[in-house]
């Protein structure tokens, strides 16, 4: 009878972590639907970026208020998770506050967890007010209706509840310690939860133990739930920010990738010895598709970007097209990419591991041409992203598909391009007149 809770705990832990691992496997499979990219440059620089941007939150503080609040929640969660380690050991082995033997250091740990928990609660409240009362512009854009809005609020509610449970658990524990209840040896300094003690003054030891155990169980079950919530939420960024900043662009922002598949074709065209009418060799691979019309045409880094996006909207709020009322929103580009990728993933799950054409694609069904053509390629979105996402690269891949596979550029751009083809300038002037400006 005594070990029943331990068995239940172990079962909950295995189910929680197992389900999470399954989703991570699915996530990796989905990302691998994208094209491989060669990353052969400096790992040192990449690790440094990861340390600075993800671990060090360097780009979060560009906006000081949101940045500071975010750091509190982030540090709070990392530090308080040390407590989870204790909870897991206690849960599995039926001990109570196993780390109490650390003595003064334990008191210090519990005190700092409690202060952080309070700070997290305050930060979460401010976040909630910014979203729901002040209604900051970037949180109420069209793409934030429905699930994205609910998701953002749920995360805040869950964090609030987890912290409240943690403090309740500690407060009742402290009370039980005062009352000298069995198993509740004196341990920990309850800097914050001591103020909750009056709430429990009249309760019996039995009621207190019931509340303490309930809070304890809900706290750990809540954490396991939250872990599994990640995959369905923008909150996935707490894990993916790390690989994503590692794979972030190292080159100057203005440098766009030169498509290797195009280089091959162009070299062939410019080669005077090549026979333009030669039939391709029998074993030649089918010609590569230029650009992207669906998620499978994007690179793995672009897909990782989509899963990492936490929908904060800093990109959209810096986008010149969005600021002047155009439909383009870089955040929506990322959200659409993830939604479509998830749809493709579910299609594969439902068809025994194989994708069955569903008559849909990322272009038009999710991202419209109007959005794509509104981009000025100014890199403001790339600069703004706190986790090194590059929405611009997806816009460019899709423009490439439109122009090179569909010849579907806006008419004025087609004129500009035929001018370049005919006379080496985007305007219809004679190339021989290139030096006229000297004598004008």
């Amino acid at each position: 009878m005594e070990i029943l809770p331990n068995i239940l705990f172990a079962v909950a832990l295995v189910i929680g972590i197992g389900f999470f691992a399954g989703n991570i496997k699915k996530l990796i499979r989905n990302i691998k639907l994208g094209k491989e990219v060669e990353i052969d440059d400096s790992p040192t620089k990449r690790f440094k970026n990861m340390a600075m941007i993800a671990l060090g939150q360097s780009k979060m503080v560009v906006r000081p208020i949101a940045g500071l609040m975010h750091i509190i929640v982030y540090v709070g969660f990392i530090i308080i998770n040390i407590e989870v380690l204790e909870i897991i050991i206690d849960g599995l082995f039926g001990t109570h506050r196993i780390f109490a033997s650390l003595g003064v250091f334990y008191d210090f740990l519990i005190a700092s967890f409690e202060i952080l928990a309070l700070l997290v609660i305050i930060a979460v409240l401010i976040f909630w007010i910014r979203r729901n009362v002040i209604r900051l512009q970037r949180f109420i854009k069209p793409e934030m209706k429905g699930w994205p809005k609910t998701d953002a609020n749920w995360i805040l509610y869950i964090e609030f509840i987890l912290m409240a449970l943690f403090l309740t658990m500690n407060a009742t524990d402290a009370k039980l310690q005062q009352l000298g209840a069995l198993h509740y040896q004196e341990a920990g300094t309850f800097t914050i939860s001591q103020f909750l003690l009056p709430l429990f003054d009249t309760m019996s030891i039995q009621t207190l133990i019931f509340i303490e155990r309930t809070a304890w169980w809900l706290h750990i079950l809540g954490i396991l739930f939250f872990l599994n919530y990640l995959y369905y939420s923008k909150h996935l960024h707490i894990l993916l920010a790390f690989p994503n900043t590692y794979y972030g662009k190292l080159k100057p922002q203005g440098q766009f990738e030169n498509l290797g598949s195009v280089t091959k074709e162009v070299k062939l065209m410019l080669d005077p010895n090549a026979d333009p009418f030669a039939a391709p060799a029998d074993d030649a691979p089918p010609p590569e598709k230029f650009g992207a019309s669906d998620v499978m045409d994007l690179t793995r880094v672009q897909l990782l970007n989509a899963y990492t996006c936490t929908e904060c909207g800093r990109c959209t709020s810096e986008c010149p097209a969005n600021q002047t009322g155009k439909k383009l929103s870089p955040r929506k580009i990322m959200m659409d990419t993830r939604d479509r990728l998830e749809e493709v993933g579910k299609n594969i799950d439902g068809n025994k591991g194989e994708f069955k054409a569903d008559g849909k694609q990322l272009l038009d069904d999710y991202i419209t041409r109007e959005e794509l053509w509104a981009c000025t390629t100014c890199n403001a979105c790339v600069e703004a992203c706190p986790v090194s996402i590059d929405p611009l690269s997806i816009i460019m891949s899709m423009r490439q598909y439109l122009v090179m596979e569909q010849s579907a550029a806006p008419t004025e751009l087609n004129n500009m391009m035929s001018n370049i083809e005919n006379n080496g300038a985007p305007w219809p002037y004679n190339q021989m007149d290139r030096l006229n400006w000297v004598n004008e």
Binding site: N258, K267, A321, G325, K326, N379, W427
Partner: protein, 261 residues
């Protein structure tokens, strides 16, 4: 500007058995656009004044392909790039200067993997270098007492992190320099990039250049300086939209310096 400019093509240098110090990549805007041509002339005036032995490609120059690439036509871009690289490599060009941040970015960053490796500088960097080496000095009286703000071209600033050279030059004019609220890496685009220069904007409630000029006008400047022919056009149009063309002028850094020497 009526004084004769001294401009030699690469072909002429080769005929004389000489090599230039640097190649001036004029770019399509600098060659054909009426406003941008004045920037090319101002820059050459500076080069002449500093006795720089520079060359241009003239009719052998062709569009870098930048605008085709951003429009999604990678094919046309690479065709242009490879033709230009053949010319540049044929002349064994090592160093290039240009007044166009788009050419600057493409030549510097996107040509190397296609076989074109050059040291590429923006004209603001090059003019600064001429000053630092004592080859050019500025009197700096013309603009004394004027208020100047600077609009960062995206492809010079954010794209390549060149923020200081143009500002250092502006300070040499002895004008009062005022930053816009959004500047350097937070600067707002003028609206011309990504091939927008060549098409009508999508439906919205405002044109980007009007918004950016509004931000510039908030500094109540006499002059809005920039370092890109496309930004120049967009900002000039923006000034007109705000009906400020009588009191505010848009000038390139090269023009400000050319007028100050």
């Amino acid at each position: 500007m009526s004084e004769a400019l001294r401009v030699k093509t690469m072909e002429e240098f080769v005929a004389q058995g000489k090599r230039p110090e640097i190649l001036f990549w004029v770019g399509s805007a600098g060659s054909y656009d009426d406003r941008a041509k004045k920037i090319s002339r101002a820059f050459v005036k500076i080069l002449n004044k500093a006795n720089v032995e520079f060359a241009v490609l003239g009719p052998e120059e062709s569009c870098t392909g930048d605008v085709a690439k951003r429009a999604g036509n990678e094919f046309l871009f690479q065709m242009q790039a490879m033709m230009n690289i053949e010319v540049l490599n044929g002349y064994e060009i090592e160093r290039i200067v240009t007044c166009d941040p788009h050419s600057f970015n493409t030549l510097k960053n996107e040509y190397p993997s296609l076989g074109g490796n050059y040291e590429v500088v923006h004209h603001s960097q090059y003019i600064k270098e001429l000053m630092d080496n004592g080859r050019l000095s500025v009197e700096g009286q013309v603009y004394r007492g004027k208020k100047i703000t600077f609009h960062d071209p995206c492809y010079l600033g954010r794209a390549n992190k060149v923020y200081d050279a143009p500002r250092d030059l502006l300070k040499k004019t002895n004008a009062q320099f005022i930053e816009m609220k959004r500047h350097k890496r937070n600067a707002l685009c003028c609206g011309a990039g990504g091939a927008q220069m060549f098409k009508e904007p999508e439906k919205g409630d405002m044109d980007i250049n009007v918004l950016r000029t509004k931000e510039a006008l908030e500094t109540s400047p006499n002059i809005i300086a920039t370092g890109c022919p496309y930004c120049n056009t967009m900002m000039t149009d923006g000034i007109k939209a705000h009906e400020k063309e009588d009191s505010v002028t848009v000038l390139d850094i090269a023009e400000l310096i050319a007028n100050s020497i």
